[in-house]
Amino acid sequence: MRLYELTAHELKEKIERREVRVEEAVRALLDRIAEVDEAVRAYVTLAREQALAKARAADERLARGEPARPLEGVPVAIKDNMCTRGIETTCSSKILKGFVPPYDATVVELLERAGAIIIGKTNMDEFAMGSSTENSGFFPTRNPWDLERVPGGSSGGSAAAVAADEAVAALGSDTGGSVRQPAALCGVVGLKPTYGLVSRYGLIAFASSLDQIGPITKDVRDCALVLGVIAGHDPRDSTSVPRKRCDYLKGLVPDVRGMRIGVPKEYFGEGMAPGVRAAVGAALKTLQDMGAILADVSLPHSEYALATYYIVAPAEASSNLARYDGVRYGHRAPGCPDSVTMMTQTRSEGFGAEVKRRIMLGTYTLSAGYYEAYYLKALKVRTLITRDFDRALEKCDCLVSPTSPTVAFRFGEKMNDPLAMYLSDIYTVTANLAGIPAVSIPCGFGEDRMPVGLQILGRHYDEATVLRVAYAFEQATDFHKAKPVLGGAGADGAVVGVAPACGAAATGDGSGEAGGGPTRKPAGGEADA
């Protein structure tokens, strides 16, 4: 096992036991990035020198006998829409190129206080608008499982970095599925916490009533570990909810016996790829075999969720993005005779096509004469969608569904059809509208042996239950240990677990059926995480 392959909890233990120095860990990750990022292109900015300096400081702390902190020495990547003091932060937009924030986002502060080392900023769809990372203003990120395919989005850089072992863990942001969908498409774990649980201070706003920061990690234990560090009330975010701190690690019990898991029928209808259906179906069977009670439930307003989202999110975005006017930071169009011309020119040069499309859509639906017909209507339907979840979760401990209707698609496949791209979010936007927590975990392989994600949704602030079910499933299966083949595929090809390139062997059962049967550990197999 190479250092860069370790999970955060494994690496932290080695550092705590002084088997590994923090500087060694950071160098291992930087070397890995040098080896594979030319192919994956997960990072827009590397913080090499800052990371090494912080690593040496951490090693000195430990040498003085100070206790290891929860994420001591763990190299993490941050999506490029979270402010990092002294490290360029662009939202993968030309309009913010060169912007160096004078302050840290709260999540960045909390991670560093917990001992994590920030090694770089990851690529994303510009201003988090997109589902493939093709809308980056700089370059697309590639899926580590198949470099001809997208990693999903908008947190595609963070998901690809974790999947390719270029970061031990990462942060993404999720407005309509931007943590969960790329996590699913890259075969890693991604959580969107309850709205208000994690501070948005220093997160560059897209749609303020939907945005939430969440961890992207190699396993569920890491997800709980990172969530415990970043969750909590922050007086600098007025939508941050004051609550008692929760130890998410304690709740990780590999037991779902007697738990009621709702299966919303609307999430298993048309439009789902057969391979995704097979993998998710097998996952439900696994949960049932483990003693969970599956219950059919209905979320009757699901078919209106995407339309609601595509009114609410662009409306909020059009307002939030009004601040990019070339006055205080970022790009300014040169040589303009007056300020209005300068602002118009700056925005027209600086924003990409999808961002302009959403600003236009949001401005239109908020403009005089249309506000009630579109925006107000959407807010009312949002109430109906939320009530659906309240009702379903009264009778169930959590709900399960596919994360994405398809596996990772090829570059360019959906770029000329905005509505087709928006459909990638069909199973994820609802959690943002309702504000509930939802995690995506690897649950098998679908078409062309690409990863499939299982989404688990829970009650407001009940991350503990969502993570418990995720953890139990993970302990019973091996999907999270599968890694893509990347880099020097020489004699020492650093591949652990199974590789998708091996075809049928990937599931370990040799059956090679479409959708991949779950890799089940032998009965009584001990958890080894």
């Binding site: 060169g98 912007f99 160096v100 004078p102 709205y195 208000g196 009533s209 939907l210 007086p235 007025s238 939508t239 909810v241 307003h301 209106y304 339309a307 609601t308 595509y310 009114i311 059009s318 009004a322 006055v327 205080r328 930071y329 970022g330 300014r332 303009c336 005779p337 007056d338 300020s339 209005v340 300068m342 602002m343 118009t344 925005r347 027209s348 924003f351 302009k356 499309r357 600003i359 236009m360 859509l361 401005t363 239109y364 403009s367 579109y374 107000l376 209507k377 959407a378 807010l379 009312k380 339907v381 949002r382 109430t383 109906l384 939320t386 905005p418 509505l419 943002n432 509208l433 407001h460």
Partner: protein, 97 residues
């Protein structure tokens, strides 16, 4: 609702964006398709449903009015495209006489 080139012109002015003629045609077509899709919401009777602007019921979040340090002007101006002293400098705003 069909979005016309005139609508695109008006909304672009509000949003401080400029498009060439080809882009305008593409934008009108794409926005029309999206708006047509979202009009699906009209199938629902929402007469007595209250709107939900936020996922958490927080109201009037206030903090104590304590004196404390804020962002240093030099730091705030570091990213400015243009400055003059402690100010952001911009092209002319008012019409000259």
């Amino acid at each position: 609702m069909k979005i016309t080139i005139a609508d695109v012109d008006h909304v672009a002015m509000l949003a401080r964006l400029r498009f060439d003629e080809d882009e305008k045609a593409g934008m009108a077509e794409q926005l029309s398709r999206i708006v047509e899709y979202v009009e699906k919401l009209n199938e629902l009777d929402t007469g007595d449903v209250s709107p939900m602007a936020h996922a958490v019921p927080l109201r009037n979040v206030l903090r104590d009015d304590e004196v404390r340090a804020s962002l240093d002007p030099e730091e705030a101006l570091r990213n400015a495209p243009d400055r003059e002293g402690d100010f952001f400098r911009v092209p002319r705003i008012l019409e000259s006489e």
